[in-house]
């Protein structure tokens, strides 16, 4: 057991030592002598640092979450319609998808996993009361799609069990045999939850509101789409979506995802596809994961521009304010400075002292601002998510990592330097005799 008396003595000594250290550090204008002004400087620095932390973490959050989402999909190469911006992939299509896949697999750099897709829309009447809704439909290859991460299997079975016999037969023999339709679909968790659709339920999908081709489907399972571009959606075998949309003959697709065991092969395949030996060169482009990310970053870069504007203005206003307060304080310390000069302190040592004292007060504000910023980021991260509909699940708008902290530190330097330099410059120009004369008056 420790003796409480000794602990008290130890604490007392520590406080005394700290006080002595502070008194030694703050020789000229200790912050406790003018608490109001010191608080103002701390508030000014803290508010700038807080705003900088929030704005920088917003930019970083959007960047890292975008990258993480693309990483979760797990594709190394995206085959998309020629000349089309990858962000518009669902607005255009290409034909002869299987021929393109074959050409890629026959290339010197064949992919390890290939997942063709067709995105389209279908109509369903979930309640059977004539209230028709439009849902997004993804035609997928049941054998390969779940090797990628965009669709997460939640309940029931995946389409892997039933497969896509209609398309397999069509590829094999060129014959379209409607008796091979499985009629199995998976519905998104939003569609299942919002429209009360359960496993084993039968839903009728149609290609048009009135007329069009209809197919009776059984709900085999549910899934979540990590991109969640449109939440109410369904997955069905690619061949069956192509069939009911009358696109099987042309083997129409919207994209093909490729993955490689060896990442270098991905880059080599892209280069090869542009060299004139690729059969599908006129119809599709091969884009790397980095190409897609680069495009997404371009779209979100305006957030960075806006952040930079807000941070610049906030730091400018804080710097001006800190300069005013410190100018006043330093002028008031004229008598002390003159005394020190009179007893032999050099001008340089006093300037250094003033600079260090100001920096110390700013540092307190900087630390406080960073802590407040982290708290604000935590709060906004928890509460802004509900406003940001349509963002992928797990997409964090605010992220604080090493790069954000480093940038905050970099931004703190001009504030701290400014707050130290202004009084130091005033002090360096101060004439002891005039200061003393002023005080006597």
């Amino acid at each position: 057991m420790h003796d409480p008396g000794r602990i008290f003595l130890f604490l007392l000594k520590t406080v005394n030592s700290a006080e002595n250290i502070l008194r030694k550090v703050f020789l000229l204008s200790p912050p406790w002598r003018t608490p109001f002004r010191s608080s103002l400087i701390v508030i000014a620095v803290a508010s700038s640092m807080m705003l900088a932390t929030v704005m920088l973490s917003l930019g970083e959050g959007v960047r890292t979450s975008t990258r993480d989402t693309i990483d979760r999909i797990g594709a190394d190469v995206y085959v998309v319609p020629k000349d089309l911006n990858p962000l518009l992939v669902n607005l255009h299509r290409f034909d002869q998808g299987t021929e393109i896949i074959n050409a890629l697999e026959r290339s010197p750099y064949p992919p390890t996993l290939t997942s063709p897709r067709l995105r389209d829309s279908l109509f369903i009447d979930p309640e059977g009361d004539g209230d028709i809704i439009e849902v997004s439909a993804f035609g997928i290859d049941p054998a390969s799609e779940f090797g990628f991460g965009q669709f997460e299997h939640l309940e029931g079975e995946t389409l892997e069990v039933s497969g896509d016999p209609l398309r397999e037969e069509f590829i094999l023999s060129g014959v379209v045999d409607p008796s091979l339709l499985t009629g199995m679909v998976m519905v998104s968790e939003e569609l299942a939850g919002g429209r009360d659709i359960g496993l084993g339920d039968t839903i009728e999908v149609t290609t048009r509101i009135t007329g069009g081709r209809a197919l009776s489907c059984v709900v085999a399972g549910t899934f979540s789409n990590i991109l969640a571009v449109r939440s109410e959606g369904l997955l069905m075998p690619l061949g069956e979506l192509q069939y009911i949309k009358d696109l099987l003959g042309n083997d129409t697709m919207t994209e093909i995802l490729l993955s490689f065991d060896d990442g270098e092969n991905a880059a080599s395949l892209i280069e090869w596809s542009r060299g004139g030996d690729f059969w599908g060169e006129n119809a599709v482009d091969l884009l790397s994961r980095e190409d897609i990310l680069g495009e997404l970053y371009r779209f979100t870069s305006i957030i960075g521009g806006f952040s930079a504007l807000v941070i610049t203005v906030s730091i400018s206003v804080s710097l001006i304010f800190i300069s005013v307060v410190l100018m006043t304080s330093t002028k008031e310390s004229g008598e002390v400075i003159s005394m020190l000069r009179a007893i032999g302190f050099s001008r340089l040592s006093i300037v250094r002292q003033v600079f260090l004292e100001s920096m110390f007060v700013s540092a307190i504000g900087g630390v406080l601002g960073l802590l407040l910023g982290l708290a604000a980021v935590g709060y906004l991260g928890d509460h802004l998510g509900s406003f940001a509909n349509g963002l992928p699940p797990g997409f964090e708008l605010f992220v604080v990592d090493g790069s954000v902290l480093l940038l905050v530190l970099v931004l703190f330097i001009p504030i701290a330097m400014g707050s130290g330099m202004v009084p130091a410059l005033i002090t360096s120009r101060m004439r002891p005799v005039e200061s003393l004369r002023g005080e006597m008056r």
């Binding site: 518009l88 255009h92 997004s136 007329g211 696109l247 006129n282 119809a283 006043t328």
Partner: protein
């Protein structure tokens, strides 16, 4: 009132003014962005003869029998005009060497592409010229989706003969092309433009019959999405994109008869249309304006809040500096009270000094405000590649901003003023 002497501490006063000017400049810039976007969007909607839209819920064309349904709607007495529209993204090809004596194809069929063919993604619009004419405003502009098309030329064939012949004959091959795209490929009237199908093959050719202007600037983000826009007859676009099965369209635009434009009647008509077109969206101009306000509300509120917070911080700084000034003038305050100056005069003196600094700061802040507005406008135009006014500075907004800033300055200077009065109590002299 005691005399106002901001020049007593010129450096401090100058910096206070500067701080407020920067803050106020930010407020003006951010409000102008919010107003600019709102004004541009509402302006487009407000002037156009397009009262109602029946559209797909998603991006795919979902309206079947679009020609006949539009005609039927026009005959039911509620609408003075209706037009089906098909909008989608496709690929066009351009060649300087190709010169086709007969650029039309009856019916379209594949042929080999010219050697120097350059291809580009374009927004494609299909419409029936005769049905679209009533929707063209007095300024020769037509609003399709949210883009204003300003026409320099128009189609010669008002009907849609290719659709009328059940997609067998009458392919006009006429194309209106966006002027920036025409400039980029040096296209003139009569030059061919090729339609590239989903296999990457040329499947039809069109002849440029004229141009139109849009807000697209040919650079920035918008140019990455689509290189330009082209307009053709609806039936021809339907055929080339496989939407002729079922006569599919993306939307039907409707213009109400004059006596049907009151709010209640519009609501009734909208309900009736929703019954006629299950699974489709029916929106009125009023609903689109509401939706638009909803969409830009977050941006508006965010801009105004960030601007307002900056000004409040600036005013907080002013208040702090006034407080310091009052503390420094402790002796002066006491003497003023001793020689009979009333508390009210001292109070008003401090308030007046703060208001003077705030007024100068606000007025000077207009300079960085206008500068920031201009910079933001050009930054956003070049970023998005769209030539629309992203910012709008209106005199009433500026006057209201200055008035609010001065009101806040008054509120913020009450604390130093009260402090000045309490310092100057006669008993403190004793």
């Amino acid at each position: 009132m005691i005399p106002v002497k901001p020049h007593r501490r010129p450096g401090r006063t100058l910096l206070s003014v500067l701080s407020l000017a920067v803050s106020f400049g930010m407020l003006v810039s951010l409000i102008s962005v919010s107003q600019g976007i709102e004004g541009a969007a509402e302006g487009k909607l407000g002037d156009q003869p397009r009262d109602m839209i029946i559209s797909s819920q998603g991006i795919d064309p979902s309206i079947d029998h679009s020609h006949s349904r539009s005609e039927k709607l026009q005959d039911d007495g509620n609408f003075s005009a209706s037009m089906p529209v098909l909008t989608l993204v496709g690929r066009l090809g351009f060649s300087s060497k190709a010169s086709l004596s007969d650029p039309f194809i009856h019916p379209p069929e594949r042929f080999s592409a010219p050697g120097d063919l350059r291809t580009e993604t374009a927004g494609l619009v299909g419409l029936v010229p005769g049905m679209a004419e009533p929707f063209i405003s007095e300024e020769d502009s037509l609003l399709i989706r949210n883009e204003l098309f300003r026409y320099h030329d128009w189609f010669e064939e008002p009907e849609d003969p290719f659709h009328r012949s059940n997609y067998t004959t009458g392919f006009t091959g006429s194309m209106l092309i966006e002027d920036r795209m025409a400039d980029r490929y040096h296209l003139e009237k009569g030059d061919p433009v090729f339609f590239i199908d989903r296999s990457g093959e040329v499947s039809a050719s069109f002849r440029v019959i004229g141009t139109f202007g849009t807000s697209l600037m040919g650079d920035g983000l918008s140019s990455d999405l689509v290189g330009g826009i082209a307009i053709v007859h609806l039936g021809e676009l339907q055929y080339l994109t496989g939407n002729h099965h079922g006569d599919m369209a993306t939307a039907i635009y409707l213009d109400l008869e004059e006596d049907r434009k009151d709010r209640e009647t519009q609501k009734e008509i909208a309900i009736s249309l929703e019954r006629q077109f299950p699974g489709l969206q029916v929106t009125s101009k009023e609903m689109r304006l509401y939706r638009l306000e909803d969409e830009i509300a977050v941006l508006s509120v965010f801009s105004v809040v960030v601007g307002a917070v900056t000004v409040v911080i600036g005013l907080f700084f002013l208040s702090s500096i006034m407080m310091m000034s009052v503390e420094e003038r402790r002796r002066e305050m006491m003497i003023l009270r001793a020689i009979g100056i009333s508390r009210r005069s001292i109070f008003m003196g401090v308030i007046a000094e703060a208001l003077l600094v705030a007024s100068i700061g606000s007025v000077l802040g207009l300079v960085p405000g206008f500068l920031g507005t201009g910079l933001l406008d050009s930054y956003m135009r070049s970023f998005y590649g769209v030539d629309i006014p992203f910012t709008e500075v209106s005199p009433p907004t500026i006057i209201i901003s200055i008035a609010l800033t001065l009101l806040c300055a008054f509120v913020f200077s009450i604390i130093p003023a009260v402090r000045a009065v309490s310092i100057g109590r006669l008993r403190d002299l004793a």
